[in-house]
């Protein structure tokens, strides 16, 4: 009986050891708590690149789509023979340097959409602080290109924490405009919605939204996107940013609500 017990013990311990060893042999990735990024005036390109990589693979959530090869262009590896992003960014838009192009793609992602992909990228300047944005640009430039981001590119006194929006000396939303079309462009609504024939079809078409919802309902949906979900779009529930209420001024919100309510 002693022999049987020992054999059972060996089987149990051996099985546990095998699983533990395999799990320890694979790459170890720990999910860190995001830290607020603080860069000094003498920050070096290397420090920017290192900080940018952390944002890219962490709080930025960039790897959610970039790198899968299906939702968005690969950035760290070759994309259709053009090399990684650092090697191709200066050739994307005529007259725009790599740095300008990358900033534009983070600030106004729908301004230029790579052929074959949908305009689904959120406006990252609303989700990340300017320091994080410029660190990401430096990191992307380092992928096959030359890093020319410098401390002077980063606005002073802008220490908006990760995840926060607006505030902290940031420019007013849509330049303070109350023109609904300017607000729609700044908010990137057409990244997911179609309105008057423009935009993507990921979320419900807004061209006749006024016939489905009244002004109160539209306002509620903008302020609290999870309050309701149009039938047929349940799988995209949760995608719409919840930050519009804090980004827009009350005047801008009302201008947008009345504009959409009039779209019958």
């Amino acid at each position: 009986m002693r022999g049987t017990n020992l054999r059972i013990l060996a089987v149990v311990l051996g099985t546990l050891a095998l699983y533990t060893l395999i799990a320890n042999a694979i790459p170890q990735v720990q999910s860190e708590v995001p830290q607020t990024l603080t860069l000094g005036a003498n920050v070096t390109p290397e420090q920017l690149v290192a900080a940018g990589e952390k944002v890219f693979t962490g709080i930025g959530g960039c790897t959610t789509c970039h790198g899968l090869g299906t939702r968005a262009p690969n950035l760290l590896t070759d994309e259709k023979g053009a090399g990684p992003i650092g090697a191709r960014c200066a050739k994307r838009e005529p007259g725009k340097s790599c740095k300008q192009y990358l900033y534009e793609s983070l600030d106004q992602p729908t301004a230029y959409v790579v052929q074959g992909y949908q305009p689904i990228m959120p406006v990252m300047t609303r989700q990340l602080s300017p320091q994080q944005i410029w660190a990401v640009i430096a990191f992307l430039e380092s992928q096959g290109g030359t890093v020319d981001v410098a401390a002077s590119d980063i606005p002073a006194q802008t220490t908006t924490p990760a995840g926060a929006s607006g505030g902290g000396g940031a420019a007013p939303f849509a330049g303070g405009s109350t023109d609904p079309k300017a607000i729609i462009q700044a908010a990137g609504c057409t990244g997911c919605h179609t309105i008057d024939g423009q935009g993507a079809k990921i979320a419900p078409d807004l061209t006749h939204v006024g016939s489905r919802r009244n002004a109160d309902s539209i306002r509620k949906k903008i302020l609290d996107p999870a309050s309701s979900t149009v039938k047929g779009y349940e799988r995209f529930a949760g995608i719409m940013p919840k930050t519009f209420g804090t980004l827009m001024s009350a005047t801008q919100l009302e201008a947008l609500v009345q504009f959409l309510a009039a779209h019958r």
């Binding site: 099985t15 546990l16 990735v29 899968l68």
Partner: protein, 569 residues
């Protein structure tokens, strides 16, 4: 507010957010107690489900051995219940002392359901005692039906208790979107938070998983009794019990991925970023480990069946097929374990030459993986079918036609699985996801219809000999231990996945974890924790079984006839 109330409020406000636990830290202390409690809870919830079913088989078929088996299952529960309660109390103590503010937040929302939980646990315990100790008293006639009703009631209490506990943990994962960090927890409607997005999928997933787990642990218990048996009769009994336990575990395991798929879908619908963290984010490597564990389960489960055929006269007819079944299982496991969407740094991406491996990347996509796992399920079912038919020769006039129809159904199901697997490479992701439903339906339809045909075809079948229960090589019993350890480890791993996708949040995007343990650990650390939990559980459950054996002899020893070698399955 009275002075006393003010004093209490002041005391509550001055609570520290966290305290530490000596040696292993607060997180590890809560992790171990929660996991071991959960393992015992899964066992005491899973076993009554099939105890009631086997008791019903005994009543309807008038087969005493099923009744004895059911009683033996229940006997294992008695001390395990106490262990569940002790670990539950430890968990509550650790939560209240190590995470006091978080506990206060949860209690403010779920207070009434916590009282109900405690009350129902008492009802459940008393029902169990009545069920077990009344077994011989209410053994015949109408009293037996009443006794069976107690078994049903035991399951009802247990299921409600589990649903209540699930509401707390699923709230942490998927709180309703109108609850924000500034929401006063005392103003939240209880049902609103209970019926959160992942509550019902987790309920269903756990119900099935508990049966799998209970079956595997019972099989391991039986295998130990088999290995230590002193007589052939005892060995035969525990061989049969091990077979039944393993059959229960493997049958429920086949359904489990579909419940898991539903849960995954709900997680994605609730919050895409959470879903992507789970499947393609920092947890992506976890699925490779899961694939390895599932491969071990399929291979070991089939190996046990193939060894079992050696004790069945007539089974030698099917032995030549074994190598082909093994080949399909191994190939399926390799495809299923192929990594695809992994978190990789720039050096790793450069080394691969892209985001996916140039050759293996094609095998790592869901089209290939779904195809592989569905074919593995079909293969396992075929193994079981061959086992079931091993000592029978059908005598119904349509036996040949029936067998041909069964073969055609297998071929058709495999063809449907392969067709949609290949077609999936040429359509968009949203269309491809829908294909998995057709694959699953094809496999389930095949399993159900082939089983129905087989049941009718085996009526009055000629026996090629009696199953020689007890004539199993010892390695078959060690295989049952490997299955039990693997099921338990898998449960710990998937628990880590479910809990870990909250990352640095106690309650997702509502209450942040600001403790020193807020970062979610890598798989290596998690694996050590899981192994420690499994070892603690196995040692304790062995002790519990031994303790139960001290108080009362096995139901087999007490009441089995001396010539009681089982003749069928």
């Amino acid at each position: 507010m009275s002075d006393v109330a003010l004093a209490l409020q002041a005391a509550a406000d001055s609570l520290p957010a966290y305290r530490d636990f000596p040696g292993i830290g607060a997180r590890a202390a809560v992790w171990i107690t929660a996991e071991v409690h959960l393992m015992f809870a899964a066992f005491v919830l899973g076993v009554p489900m099939f105890a009631v079913v086997t008791e019903a088989i005994g009543i309807f078929n008038k087969e005493e051995r099923y009744d004895r088996l059911s009683k033996e299952f229940t006997r294992l529960l008695l001390v395990a219940y106490s262990a569940t309660a002790i670990w539950g109390a430890l968990l509550t103590m650790f939560l209240t002392t190590l995470y006091p503010r978080f506990w206060r937040y949860l209690a403010a929302i779920f207070g009434p359901s916590m009282w109900l939980y405690a009350g129902l646990f008492l009802f459940e315990s008393f029902t169990l005692y009545l069920y077990y100790y009344g077994w011989d008293r209410w053994k015949h006639g109408r009293a037996k039906w009443g006794h069976w009703g107690l078994g049903i009631l035991l399951n009802v209490w247990g299921t409600i208790v589990m649903f209540i506990a699930n509401s707390w943990l699923t709230f942490m994962m998927s709180p309703p979107r109108d609850i924000t960090p500034t929401t006063d927890p005392t103003t939240v409607k209880l049902w609103h938070v209970i019926a959160n997005a992942t509550w019902m999928p987790v309920n269903v997933h756990r119900l099935i998983a508990n049966v799998v787990f209970g079956g595997a642990v019972v099989a391991a218990y039986a295998s130990y009794r088999f290995l230590s048996a002193k007589t052939d009769e005892e060995r035969a009994h525990y061989d049969w019990m091990g077979y039944v336990g393993n059959f229960i575990a493997m049958s429920a395991l086949i359904v489990l991925p579909f419940a898991g798929y539903w849960l995954g879908r709900e997680i994605y619908q609730y919050d895409q970023s959470m879903g992507i963290t789970l499947m393609g984010g920092f947890m992506s490597w976890l699925w490779v480990i899961q694939a390895f564990l599932i491969a071990v389960l399929f291979l070991t489960g089939n190996y046990y069946l193939w060894l079992g055929m050696e004790r069945i006269p007539g089974a030698e007819r099917f032995r030549p097929y074994t190598k082909w079944l093994l080949a399909i299982l191994v190939l399926g496991a390799i495809v299923w374990g192929t990594p695809h969407t992994m978190i990789a740094d720039s050096k790793e991406l450069a080394a691969m030459g892209g985001s996916h491996h140039p050759f293996l990347g094609a095998l790592g996509v869901m089209s290939a993986k779904n195809t592989a796992v569905n074919l593995m399920i079909l293969t396992t079912f075929l193994s079981f079918l061959l086992y079931r038919r091993a000592n029978k020769r059908p005598v119904v006039p349509w036996a040949r036609a029936g067998t041909l129809v069964q073969a055609a159904m297998f071929a058709l199901a495999a063809a449907v699985v392969l067709f949609f697997g290949i077609r999936g490479y040429f359509v968009e992701a949203i269309v491809r996801i829908g294909f998995s439903v057709y694959q699953v339906l094809a496999v389930l339809t095949c399993i159900v219809s082939v089983t129905v045909i087989d049941v009718f075809m085996s009526r009055g079948a000629q026996s090629l000999g009696t199953i020689q229960w007890g004539k199993m090589p010892p390695r078959s019993q060690y295989a049952l231990f490997v299955l039990a350890v693997t099921f338990t480890w898998l449960m710990g791993l998937m628990g880590f996945a479910r809990s870990g996708i909250r990352q640095y949040w106690h309650v997702w995007q509502v209450m942040q974890d600001t403790s020193r343990y807020a970062a979610t650990p890598a798989l290596g650390y998690a694996a050590k924790m899981i192994s420690a939990c499994v070892l603690i559980f196995l040692v304790l459950i062995a002790f519990v079984f031994w303790l139960g054996g001290l108080a009362e002899k096995s139901t087999f020893v007490a009441s089995a006839p001396k010539e009681g070698v089982h003749a069928g399955h």
